[in-house]
Symmetry: C2
Subunit: 350 residues, 2 copies
C-alpha cells in the first residue's frame, strides 16, 4: 500500500488530471460515436435495437471501507455493479460513464489505481468509458457509474415475466462475497492498532476475490443467446437471493418454492461460516453482492437448461396465492424475507 | 421550513419509500419504453437517431448548503444540470435517472420535497424519470443525475467545431447565479446564531432564482431548429464564461476575442456587486452555474442570428496563434483564465 510518490490532485490542474485518468480508454465498441471530452457521450445503437441505461453508486463507509478495499478493486467492482444490471435485462453492455466525488486527502496515484481497475473491468466486459466527471467531495469517496447497453426489444427480459411452473435458475454460487467481507472485517478488528498488520487469509482467497473483484456474468448472457434460451424473468443477485427473488415474484405477481439442499454454496463459504459459527445458508440467502444472475425459464426447457451446464435449478415458480418459501430437506417451509445485508444496509433500487 | 410530521426513512421500508417517491412520474416520451422498477431503463430512440448520455453529481458541502438551499429547488437544479448538458449538444433531452445517497437524518418528507422539485423540472423540460436508486450514505447528501437524449447524428454539436471568424453567441445573462449565492452566504453569515433569522433578499429575488432554480435552455435549442441555425460549436455555461469558452477554444484549437462591453449582465447582478464592492465582470467571467448556452455560428449568419433575438454576440473566434482574450472598451486585452468559482472549487467535466 506504500507509495513512492504522492502527487496532489491540485498540482495537475483540471485538464491534466482528466487527461491522465482517461488515457488508455480507446473507444472499441462500434456504437460509441463520441466519448469523454464533450458535454455528453454519443451512442448509435445497432439499427432497430433499444438502448438500456442504469446507474449505481458506491459510498465510502456504506459500500466499502478503504482500510481494506484496494482502490484498484473498487474501480473494478463499480464497473461490475453497473454492467451487471444491463446483463440482468439480457442485453449487451457497451458503454460506461463514471462520476467521482473525491476528497483532497486522496493523491492522484490513488485515482490512478482506481482507474486501473476501471480500465481492466471495462476491457474484460468490453464496454467503453465514454464520460463522467471528477469532482471535489467534502465527505468520503463517492463513485457513481452509469452503464449503457443495447438489445433487440424482443430479447429484453425484465423482472415481471415469471409464470407458474417456470424453473428458477441461478448461476455460480451464493454467499461467497458476503463471507469474504466477514473475513476482511474480522482481520480489521483483530489487527486494529497493530503496527505492521499481517492479515490471515490463508485458504479463503476465493472469498476475498468474490467480494473484492466480482465478475459480471457476460458469459451467461452470451451463452443463453447461443443456446437459444430466452428467460421469462431475470435479475442480478446484489441484495441477496431472498430479496432479489422476492422482487421477481412481486413484479411477476407469483409465488415460489426454492429448495435449501439445492442452493449452490462454495466449499470455502461453508468452511469459513463453520469457523465463524455462522450459517452458510443465511449468507446465501441474505449476503448479497454475488453479481450472479437469477432467471426463470418455462418448464419445457428443463432438459435443455440442465444439459447446458450454465446454472443450478433451485426451485420453481408457483401461483401468487401460495406465497414465497424456502423448502427444507425435511419438507418444512420457511417464508422468504427481504433482509439485504445482515448489517441492515438499505439499498433501494428503482 | 418547519414540518408538521416527520417520517423516518426506515419506517416506510424499501418498497414503500420508492413507491412514494416515484409516484406521479408517468412516462410521457414516446422513446421511454420501460421506466423505474427493473434493473435498467429501456429507451427506443427515434429511428436513425443517436442517443446522448451525460452524468452530473451534486455533493452537499461542495455544491450546495442545506441551511439555505431548499430541497425542492435542489431537486429542480440537479435536473437542470443534467438536461443542460444534453441541450449543449444540440439534442433533445428525453429521460433522467436519479441516484440519491441520503443520510438517515433526513426524514421522508425532505425526500418528498426533493422529488417534488425533480417532478416539476422533469415536467417543464419534458423528460421522463426512468430509474435510479436511493441509498443510505454515511456522509452528506449526494445527488447524481444521468440524462439521456436523442438527435440525428448530423445535428449534434460538440465543443470542437468552432472556426476562425465564427461569432461567439450567448443566451441570457451572466453572473446572476453567482451573485445569488453570494447573497445567500452573506445572509447566512449575518444571521448565524440568530434565533428566528429573517434574511433580507429585497430587490434581489431574481438572483436567488437564478442560483436556486436555474432553467435549462430547451427553448433555445428548439428555436435554433426552427430558425434553421446549426451552430459550429456549443457548450453550456456551468464553470463560468471564461472557463467554458476556453474549453471550446481548446477543443476547436482556436483563439477568441470577446468584448467586455458586450457581456450581458442583469441589473440586479450589477447592483448587488456594487453593494458588495465586487466586480460584476468577475461574476460574469468566473461565476458559473448560469446554465446558459454558448455557441458559435459562421460569420455569414450574423444578420440571421441578430434578428432572431435569441442571443448576444459577444465576440468572435480567431486563429489559435492569437490566444484567448477579453477586450476592454479602451482596446486593452486581458488573457482569459479558467478559474471556476472564485472559491476555488475544482469541477472537472470529462
Amino acid at each position: 500500500m506504500e507509495k513512492k510518490t504522492r502527487t496532489e490532485i491540485a498540482a495537475l490542474g483540471q485538464f491534466g488530471l482528466i487527461e491522465r485518468l482517461t488515457r488508455d480508454f480507446p473507444l472499441a465498441d462500434a456504437s460509441s460515436l463520441r466519448g469523454a471530452g464533450d458535454d455528453a457521450a454519443v451512442i448509435a445503437p445497432p439499427a432497430g435495437e433499444t438502448v438500456l441505461c442504469t446507474t449505481d453508486a458506491l459510498y465510502e463507509g456504506v459500500d466499502f471501507d478503504l482500510t481494506y478495499f484496494p482502490l484498484k478493486h473498487l474501480g473494478y467492482k463499480v464497473v461490475t455493479a453497473a454492467v451487471s444490471d444491463i446483463l440482468a435485462m439480457n442485453a449487451t453492455p457497451s458503454q460506461l460513464l463514471l462520476s467521482l466525488g473525491v476528497s483532497s486527502k486522496l493523491p492522484v496515484e490513488a485515482l490512478d489505481d482506481l482507474y486501473e481497475g476501471v480500465r481492466l473491468a471495462c476491457r474484460e466486459a468490453r464496454v467503453d468509458l465514454v464520460g463522467g466527471d471528477t469532482r471535489a467531495s467534502m465527505t468520503g469517496l463517492v463513485i457513481s457509474a452509469t452503464a449503457l447497453g443495447h438489445a433487440p426489444r424482443e430479447r429484453i427480459v425484465g423482472r415481471g415475466g415469471a409464470q407458474a411452473n417456470d424453473l428458477v435458475c441461478i448461476t455460480g454460487n451464493l454467499g461467497a462475497a458476503y463471507m469474504g467481507l466477514r473475513l476482511l472485517e474480522r482481520e480489521k478488528r483483530v489487527l486494529a492498532g497493530v503496527a505492521n498488520p499481517e492479515p490471515q487469509f490463508g485458504g479463503y482467497e476465493y472469498l476475498l476475490e468474490r467480494y473484492l473483484k466480482p465478475r459480471p456474468r457476460t458469459d451467461i448472457v452470451e451463452a443463453l443467446r447461443t443456446e437459444g434460451i430466452l428467460p421469462t424473468a431475470m435479475i442480478d443477485l446484489t441484495d441477496g437471493l431472498a430479496s432479489d427473488l422476492l422482487q421477481v415474484c412481486r413484479a411477476s405477481q407469483c409465488g415460489v418454492r426454492i429448495y435449501l439442499d439445492r442452493l449452490p454454496i462454495a466449499r470455502q463459504t461453508s468452511a469459513l461460516a463453520e469457523e465463524m459459527h455462522a450459517d452458510p445458508v443465511v449468507a446465501a440467502l441474505h449476503g448479497g453482492e454475488d453479481y450472479e444472475l437469477l432467471f426463470t425459464v418455462p418448464l419445457v426447457m428443463q432438459e435443455q437448461i440442465m444439459k447446458s451446464g450454465l446454472v443450478d435449478v433451485i426451485g420453481h415458480i408457483t401461483p401468487a396465492s401460495t406465497g414465497c418459501f424456502l423448502v427444507t430437506p425435511d419438507g418444512g417451509e420457511i417464508r422468504l424475507k427481504a433482509q439485504g445485508f445482515p448489517e441492515g444496509e438499505t439499498a433501494i433500487k428503482n
